[in-house]
C-alpha cells in the first residue's frame, strides 16, 4: 500500500473514531446501580431545594433494589416544551415535576398517564378519600388523576413582629378583617425625603388568590360554564386597585423592582425588613428557619374583608408529579411517587415534606409524629395547614385552556392596576375574551 493511501485510511479511521466518541459521550446518565431499572426524574427545583430532592432520591434508591431514580434539574422556563419534545421524540422522562397550569392541557392532549390506573384499591381509598380535597382535585381531569402534588403551594401573610411592635401593634393580636390589615400596612409604610417608599407595610395583590378571600375565585365547570366576572371578583380587584392607588402605582413598582426576591436563598426582602406584612408561600418558613433563624415573625391567613368575605380562602398551586404516557418505566415512577408522597407510609414521607417546607398531601402525613415534631420547631407553618384543611381552599379549574385563563386573569389585574382599565372593564374584557376563546376552541373541535 502506498504511503498516501495509508494516510487516507488513517484519516478516515480517526474521523470515525472522533464521531463515535462524540455520539457515545452524549448519553451519559450517571448510574450508581447500573443493574437496576432506570427511572429518569426531571424536576424544576434548583439551589438548596435541588439538594433536598437529591436526598429524597437517595433515600428511595437505598430503600429498595429494583429501581434507580436519576434526578435531573430542568430550569422552569421552557420545561413544558422540553417535556413535550421528549414525549414526541419517544424519550420522555419517566416522572416529571411540573407547574400547575400545564396539567389539564397536557392531560386533555393525551400526554399524561392516569395515575389512578396504577393505584391499588387500598391506595385509591387512601388517595381519593383521605387526601386534602384541594390537593386531591388539583391534578384531576375528567375523572382521572393525572398529577399528584408533592409540593403544594399556598399563600399567607408573613408579619414582621418587631416592626409591628415599633408601630404600636401587638403582633399576636392580628386583625380580623382585611380593612384593618390595610390600615396597618399604611401606617407601616416608610418613605424617604423624596417621597419614595423605603419600606412597604402591606400590599394587596394577586387577584387569582385574593379573590377567594372575597368569596370569589375564577371557576370554569367541565361543561364550559364560567364564573369569572362575578361581584366577588370585582370587589377583590377593586380593593387591589384602590389600595395600590393609595400608595401610588409607580412608587410601588419602583420599590418592588429594587427588591431581591430569589427563592431558595437568603435574599428575600422580608428577611431584611423591607416588607412588614407580605403575602407569600409556605416555602418561606423553611427558608427563614435556614437563613434568618433569629427573625421574630408570625404567619397568619389573610383575614376576609369586613363584608362578604370567606375565612381561610386560598388557591392551591405548586408542583405536580406527572408520568408521561410514553414513559418507559411507569411502574418505577409510581413506586418513587408513592415513596415520596407517603401514600404507603405517611410518617416516613413527613421527613421529605419537611426538608423543602412542602405541604403534605393528606392529614395522615400532617398528623404523623415526625411532622408534628417538626411543627413544634416551625410552628408558623400551621397557618398554611389551617388554610389547606379549609373548605374555602380551592384548586384551579380543571380545564384544558387553564394557561390561557391564567394569562387572562394576570392581564386583567395588570390593566386594572396600571389604570388602563377600570376593574369592571378589565373583568368584562376577561369574561368576553374567555368566552371568545372557548367558542373558538369548540369550533375547532376541542372539548373546551
Amino acid at each position: 500500500m502506498e504511503g498516501s493511501a495509508v494516510r487516507r485510511w488513517a484519516l478516515w479511521g480517526a474521523a470515525l473514531l472522533v464521531t463515535a466518541v462524540v455520539f457515545a459521550s452524549g448519553h451519559s446518565t450517571p448510574r450508581q446501580y447500573p443493574n437496576r431499572k432506570l427511572v429518569r426524574f426531571w424536576h424544576r427545583w434548583q439551589g438548596d431545594w435541588e439538594k433536598q430532592v437529591k436526598k429524597i432520591v437517595d433515600a428511595f434508591n437505598q430503600s429498595q433494589d429494583q429501581y434507580e431514580v436519576v434526578p435531573v434539574s430542568v430550569p422552569g422556563e421552557g420545561a413544558d416544551a422540553k417535556l413535550i419534545l421528549g414525549a414526541i421524540g419517544g424519550d420522555p422522562p419517566d416522572l416529571m415535576s411540573m407547574g400547575s397550569g400545564a396539567v389539564p392541557n397536557m392531560a386533555a392532549n393525551g400526554f399524561l398517564a392516569p395515575l389512578d390506573t396504577m393505584m391499588t384499591p387500598a391506595e385509591k381509598v387512601q388517595f381519593f378519600q383521605h387526601s386534602y380535597p384541594a390537593i386531591r382535585d388539583i391534578g384531576m381531569y375528567r375523572g382521572h388523576c393525572y398529577g399528584m402534588t408533592i409540593g403544594a403551594d399556598l399563600m399567607a401573610l408573613y408579619v414582621n413582629a418587631q416592626q409591628l411592635r415599633d408601630a404600636g401593634y401587638d403582633p399576636d393580636k392580628f386583625p380580623k378583617t382585611l380593612e384593618e390589615v390595610e390600615a396597618m400596612g399604611m401606617k407601616l409604610n416608610k418613605y424617604d425625603a423624596a417621597g419614595h417608599l423605603t419600606r412597604l407595610g402591606f400590599l394587596l395583590s394577586d387577584i387569582n388568590y385574593i379573590s377567594h378571600d372575597f368569596g370569589g375565585g375564577f371557576y370554569v365547570r367541565e361543561d364550559g360554564a364560567a364564573e369569572l366576572n362575578t361581584p366577588q371578583n370585582l370587589r377583590a380587584l377593586t380593593a387591589i386597585v384602590e389600595y395600590r392607588k393609595k400608595i401610588g402605582f409607580e412608587n410601588v413598582i419602583r420599590f418592588q423592582a429594587g427588591l431581591n426576591d430569589i427563592e431558595g436563598a437568603a435574599s428575600w426582602a422580608f428577611m431584611h425588613g423591607d416588607l412588614s406584612i407580605t403575602y407569600d408561600g409556605q416555602w418561606r418558613v423553611e427558608e427563614l428557619r435556614k437563613f434568618k433563624p433569629d427573625l421574630d415573625y408570625r404567619v397568619y391567613p389573610v383575614p376576609p374583608p369586613k363584608e362578604g368575605g370567606t375565612p381561610l380562602g386560598g388557591l392551591v398551586g405548586g408542583n405536580y408529579m406527572l408520568v408521561p404516557v410514553s414513559a418507559k418505566q411507569k411502574e418505577g415512577a409510581w413506586e418513587f411517587l408513592k415513596f415520596w408522597s407517603g401514600l404507603d407510609n405517611p410518617d416516613r414521607a413527613a421527613t421529605f415534606y419537611n426538608m423543602g417546607g412542602w405541604l403534605p398531601y393528606s392529614p395522615a402525613v400532617a398528623n404523623s409524629p415526625t411532622y408534628q415534631k417538626w411543627l413544634t420547631g416551625d410552628s408558623q407553618f400551621r397557618a398554611f395547614l389551617q388554610i389547606l384543611a379549609s373548605p374555602n381552599c380551592k384548586p384551579p379549574p380543571a380545564i384544558a385552556n387553564l394557561q390561557f385563563l391564567d394569562d387572562l386573569i394576570a392581564h386583567a389585574e395588570d390593566e386594572a392596576v396600571q389604570g388602563a382599565k377600570t376593574p369592571k372593564q378589565a373583568l368584562d374584557e376577561l369574561d368576553a375574551k374567555f368566552k371568545e376563546e372557548t367558542a373558538k376552541r369548540r369550533a375547532l373541535g376541542y372539548d373546551q
Binding site: 414525549a87 392532549n109 392581564h411 367558542a439
Partner: protein
Amino acid sequence: MARRTNHRAKEYLVGYLFVSPWIVGFLAFTLWPFLQSIYLSFTRYNIVAPAKWVGAANYKMLLTQDPLFWHSAWVTIKFGFFSVPLGIIAGVGLALLLNSNVKGIGVFRTIFFLPSIVPTVATTVLFMWLLNPNIGLINKALARAGVTGPAWLKTAPWAFNSLIMMSLWGVGGSMIIYLAGLKDIPTGLYEAATLDGANAIKKLRHITLPMMTPVIFFNLIMGIIGAFQYFTQAYVMAPTGGPEDSTYFYSLYLYNRAWKYLDMGYASAMAWMLFLIIIVTTGLVFRTQKRWVHYGG
C-alpha cells in the same frame, strides 16, 4: 474521453458528498417542516394526537375572531417602523465615524462591534438590570442629573420604548457592513468633488449616501425581516407580553399558541400569515428600490 468523464463524475460526487450534510439538514430540518406546516395550518394539531383537518378555520379565526392576532401584529409593525430606520441611522452614523483615519481606529471598531456578538439572552438580562427603575444604572445616572427616570420595563409605553432602545445595542453588526460599503466607494469621486469645491456635507449627500444605498437597502430588508421575527428579547423580558400587552410581539404570541396552549395548527397558520406579511412587505420595499438605490459603483 471516457476517463475525463469519469473523473468529472467523481469530482461531482465528491462535491455533493461535501455539501451533503447541509443538503440533508436543509431537506430534513427546513424544507420538510416548512411544507409540513402548510398542511398543519389547516388542521387541529396538538403534536401527540394525529392532526385533524379543519379546513380554513384557523385562518378564518385568526382574521375575524382573534384581537390578539391583530394587536401582536400591530406591536410588531410599530416596532419595525421605529427600530429599523433608527438602526440604519445609527449604523450609518457609526460607520461614518469609524471610517475616519485616526489613531487606534481598529480598537474603536472592535468596541462598537463587540455588543453584536454577545448572546441575545445575556444582553437582555443585562438590560433588565440597567433599566431597573430603582437600582438600574440608567435611572441612577438620570437621578444625578436631577431627572426622575421612568419605570422602563414596568409600564406600558416605556417597556416598548425600552425594547426599541435595546435594538440599537446590536447595531455593530450592520455597522461593519456599512463600513465595508464605505470602503468600496471609489476615492476618485471624492477627489473630483473636492476639485469642484464640494464641502463635507455635500460629499456625504451626493456621493457617500447614494453610493451606500445598495448596502442600506440590504440592511433595510434584513432589518424588516428581523423585526417581524423579533422574539428572544421580548420572551426573556416579558413572556406574556406585558405590561398591558405592550410587548406582545407576533412571534411571542405564535410561540405561546404553539408551546403554551399546545395549538400547533393555529400556530402554523400564524406562521404562514407572518410569512405572507414578510413577503408582501419586502416585495413592496423591493419595488421602491428603482427610485432610490444606485448600483453605479
